[in-house]
């Protein structure tokens, strides 16, 4: 059951009182298969994940770099669908009632599922927020407003091309938090210039009372530590997905335990990143 505060708002309120930023790992739902993905996601909170972003696999992820493209194809090849991603969340929720879950993807799978049907299932499964890359504010009637009415946060991306004129429109129906894309580019690219990102986050925080998360280009514990000094949350995706891919056997045969070492490798990197985020504001240059 939901209280008056959403799980996402509740989590950010807690972190604020702790005086630290959130660590948000991104993993692709169903990568490398349903069972291993459920195992990984279930163990992320213990590895230090404050919120979790789960990718909804899509054949044509035009804002993603090679790592997340490959993750999506692995998931699809293993039979992942949006319905199965909802099942993944529902299974996770049986074990964890507090860690917010955000689904991130592209509009067409949601569109094909049917927006109202999807939202009803998502509420039942325990989804807290949505990030849909190809739904800018110009298309809010599609999913953003229906999601808000269903009690699911709609988290918008702000980017280096979001100018002053455009910012109010971007912020208008956003809820949960704002996702600042630190570079004009695809996921997993180069890190945004530290100074410029800091200025952009400050601008967003002046314009909105929502927490600001920074993602796209945060790869290492050092990137994470620096970003966590001024952002409310740090999102890491491609580095985790790369770690998974690098530790998978050459061919997957759906045998139990075959992805264990890959899952453990991801959890170990998640642990390092989360520690860096937790220690960021205690570090000498904080």
């Amino acid at each position: 059951m939901r209280g008056s505060l959403s799980r996402i708002a509740q989590k950010f309120a807690e972190l604020k009182s702790e005086g630290r930023a959130a660590f948000i790992p991104f993993v692709m739902g169903g990568d490398p298969n349903f069972a291993a993905s459920l195992d990984l996601i279930s163990r992320l909170p213990a590895a230090g994940a404050d919120l979790i972003e789960i990718g909804v696999a899509f054949t044509d992820p035009m804002a993603d770099g090679p790592a997340i493209q490959a993750a999506g194809l692995r998931a699809l090849d293993a039979g992942q669908t949006l319905a199965k991603t909802l099942a993944l969340v529902a299974e996770f929720r049986k074990r964890d009632q507090t860690t917010p879950i955000i689904l991130m993807g592209y509009y067409n799978p949601f569109h094909a599922f049917g927006v109202e049907r999807f939202l009803a299932r998502a509420v039942d499964a325990g989804v807290d927020g949505l990030i849909v890359v190809d739904l800018p504010p110009e298309e809010d009637e599609e999913l953003c407003l229906p999601a808000r009415r269903a009690g699911i946060d709609f988290i918008r991306l702000a980017t280096p091309t979001t100018n002053e004129k455009r910012l109010p429109a971007v912020l208008k129906n956003t809820s949960g938090f704002i996702y600042y894309v630190s570079v004009a580019g695809v996921t997993g690219g180069k890190v945004g210039a530290g100074g410029a990102v800091k200025v952009a986050v400050a601008t967003l925080k002046t314009a909105s009372s929502l927490p600001v998360a920074v993602g796209f280009g945060v790869r290492t514990a050092e990137n994470a530590r620096q970003t966590a000094q001024f952002a409310d949350a740090v999102i890491v995706g491609s580095a985790l997905v790369d770690r998974l891919a690098a530790n998978l056997p050459a061919t997957l045969e759906e045998t139990p335990g075959e992805a264990d070492s890959a899952v453990n490798a991801v959890l170990s990197l998640a642990g390092e990143l989360s520690s860096a985020v937790r220690l960021a504001r205690r570090a000498p240059d904080a």
Binding site: D60, A63, G65, Q69, N108, A112, V133, D134, P136
Partner: protein, 411 residues
């Protein structure tokens, strides 16, 4: 032509919609860019200097107007086997005579002038068969702008002559291996390039699809086909044609021919998609006949997709038609019933490829060979006084190597 009360020619609306289709489904990074492009295009449309410049290059560089040609021997062939008094006159709009051999350059010329107005210094494009890539590389060479063309790795392999042409024209051709390495992946890769190079780069989309304003501006630049054909037919026959027909992949040549005729109620309009190995097999590229509405590459339109909304690969013998989507204006025209969308198989296209070559001395591209299949059938069902116009949107020189095996090396 003045707009009628119930005109079909007024779309899109301010949001870039044709009915429920179209729109601006792009990542936030690109949204300000497509909004800027729409604003600049509105300014350019009203600027006589822009219109004069475009007209100049279309005439002296592209070779417009392209002729309207009465295909006498093809008409005679149809009449031989048609019933008594049957066999409409078949005309070709000869857009295959344009510089670079297809209609694609009409749009490229318009967009490159727009890119120059916007002060963009680098051009990117996607291509399937390579015709749009060649046309883009051509206008980039003409105006001295660097050009990067994304092309699926499998297409790079099977369209070697066009890859060489692009390189000769100074373009960089990037083989795309991501996803399933086809045209839609080339488009994804071009979008990824654009997201990372927003300041100086112009994305020159080759078909009447993508986020608003692309479907509108590509249509407007291609509408020169229909405007010319309409005037030429009035001059040649003293009246409008009874039927106009064109092939549809993304649908740019078709919307260019159709648009000026949309409000001519007496003109029947037929769009022909690629049925590949048959609509009852998974191997076709007919998104309007065999797909469902969805959202891809910036617009809502008919798409080949599975139940989960994953995009499927289109198949056609013609690499220019195997895109799994279609321009949003076609999706709308289908739903309101103004245009009849049909299809032709690989086999039918090959048959027309050979027939048109032998009877008219014109080797058509495989794409318009699809349109010819339905046009010839339609002509046979109409009386001799009727007139049918087909857009011959490209020449077949590019196809001879891929077609050769089907004819056992020689016809």
């Amino acid at each position: 032509m003045t707009a009628k009360l119930n005109s079909h020619r007024t779309g899109p609306d301010a949001e870039g919609r044709f009915g429920i289709f179209g729109g601006r489904f792009v990542a936030e990074t690109l949204t300000p860019l497509v909004l800027d492009l729409a604003e600049e295009y509105e300014r350019a449309k009203k600027d006589p200097k822009f219109r004069d410049e475009l007209e100049y290059y279309l005439k002296h560089y592209v070779g417009r107007p392209s002729p309207l040609y009465f295909a006498e021997r093809l008409t005679g062939h149809v009449r031989e086997s048609a019933g008594p008094g049957k066999g409409a006159k078949i005309y070709f709009k000869r857009d295959e005579l344009n510089h670079t051999g297809a209609h694609k350059i009409n749009n490229c010329m318009g967009q490159i002038l727009l890119a120059r107005r916007m002060g963009k210094t680098r051009i990117i494009a996607e291509t399937g068969a390579g015709q749009h890539g060649v046309a883009t590389a051509t206008v980039c060479a003409r105006f001295g702008l660097p050009c990067v063309v994304y092309m699926g790795a499998t297409d790079v392999e099977r369209q070697k002559p066009n890859v060489f042409r692009m390189k000769l024209l100074g373009a960089e051709v990037v083989p795309v291996t991501s996803g399933r390495a086809t045209l839609k992946d080339a488009m994804n890769e071009a979008l990824r390039d654009w997201v990372a190079n927003v300041a100086d780069t112009y994305y020159l989309i080759g078909t009447a699809a993508g986020p608003h304003p692309y479907p509108m501006l590509v249509r407007d630049f291609q509408s020169v086909i229909g405007r010319e054909a309409r005037a030429q037919m009035l001059e040649a026959e003293g009246r409008l044609p009874d039927v106009v027909a064109a092939c549809i992949g993304g649908g740019s040549n078709a919307i260019g021919l159709f648009h000026p005729f949309l409000d001519d109620d007496g003109v029947e309009i037929i769009g022909v998609e690629a049925a590949g190995k048959g609509l009852d097999t998974p191997q076709h590229a007919a998104s309007l006949s065999g797909g469902r509405p969805g959202v891809l590459h910036g617009n809502r339109t008919y798409l080949l997709q599975n139940d989960d909304g994953q995009i499927l690969e289109g198949h056609s013998i013609s690499a220019g038609l195997d895109y799994p989507g279609v321009g949003p204006e076609h999706a709308w025209l289908r739903d309101i019933g103004r245009v009849a969308y049909q299809s032709a198989t690989d086999e039918e296209a090959l048959e027309m490829f050979a027939l048109c070559s032998r009877l008219e001395g014109i080797i058509p591209a495989l794409e318009p060979a699809h349109a010819l299949a339905r046009a010839v059938e339609k002509a046979a069902a109409l009386s001799r006084e009727k007139i049918l116009l087909v857009n011959l949107c490209g020449r077949g020189d590019k196809d001879i190597f891929s077609v050769m095996p089907y004819f056992g090396g020689a016809t």
